[in-house]
Symmetry: C2
Subunit: 191 residues, 2 copies
Amino acid sequence: MDNKTLLMECAKHLFYTKGYDAVGVQEIVERAGLTKPTLYYYFGSKRGLLQEIVESRMSEFQSLMREAEAEPDIRELLYRVARAFCTYFDRDREFYMLMMALFFSARENEAYEVVHPCMVTFYDSVLRAFERAADQLGNMRGRQRQFAISFAGVVNYYLLMRFEQDPEQKREIEDGEIRELMQQFLYGVFT
Amino acid sequence: MDNKTLLMECAKHLFYTKGYDAVGVQEIVERAGLTKPTLYYYFGSKRGLLQEIVESRMSEFQSLMREAEAEPDIRELLYRVARAFCTYFDRDREFYMLMMALFFSARENEAYEVVHPCMVTFYDSVLRAFERAADQLGNMRGRQRQFAISFAGVVNYYLLMRFEQDPEQKREIEDGEIRELMQQFLYGVFT
DNA sequence: CATTTTATATACCGAACGGTATACTGATGT
DNA sequence: ACATCAGTATACCGTTCGGTATATAAAATG
């Protein structure tokens, strides 16, 4: 692994573990066995470092979503979108949790400013899916937003729970689990 | 307002706005028009300050939940629990959002250590509600945890959306909205 | 071989960090 | 009148912060 990638990996781990503001650049370069000017050579600033970490993993999410979005049937579509989120989560759990944490962090914080545009992308993908399936959901009365929010809430809290119970990622998320979750979302808790 | 309360209010606002780690004690006391030794006189440390902010608002939540939990019917119970969350949210939106942010923050962060026990309390309240209603939900096959997680996800993401659209708290959350959200949770999106 | 470019280190900057030793002030109790 | 004590301020502590000026060594380029 080249030093640039090494720095990004070390930073990601520390940001995830201790929080963006709580980690100093000194700590990052020490973990990588390098020095500060090297970090500033590649990224220009602490903010630039976070930006590159985030951007380097966004394209992967977008291609996962593009596959999922092709599905016309709403039930299958929702399953696939949830599947895309879970796959993305499984590929790098620390990164996913870091994104979640930064999304919920303070609005005026540097890290939030970097991450927010990406989270809008995530959310818009879900919202578009509901809007394209409007004809199958009856009169939604403009509830697309509420559906998208609920969907994101259910999926992300599910992943959060997964992570707390199995932070080591011993086993991947199975299709059956995702289908059950979507079943509950579509038809309620009584089924 | 006495200086202790003033410090807590200023700190809460700054922690919410900029993030716990990003705010220095100097900034807090300046906003309050006081000096550092005063802060350390009352709270002992920055951590102690956060602790008091959090603890001072927990009892209120617990009494709201205790009222809601008395309801035997699962539909009405869920509505009441959601109502309790919303009321609590409406009473002090900045505090609620601060708690959310800190709950999602890094595990090894000082702020997380302070807030985590409280969030466990929140979650356990919901979990208990589902467990007490087990007989009305058929065979849950141990899905209480999943229900509780989904419920928390739906409610918290709903409040998050509310907050983004109306951070000024111009109007309270109406019962109809909560009932609709719970309807969707109980019976799915097709209703 | 000389020159430029890329990548790294040493050593440092001023500012801000969390926290404290000490002194003062005004009210309270005796 | 005096001692006590809660509350507040001045001035300071050592450490760490994000960031940089400068040097150097290796690799690519002419």
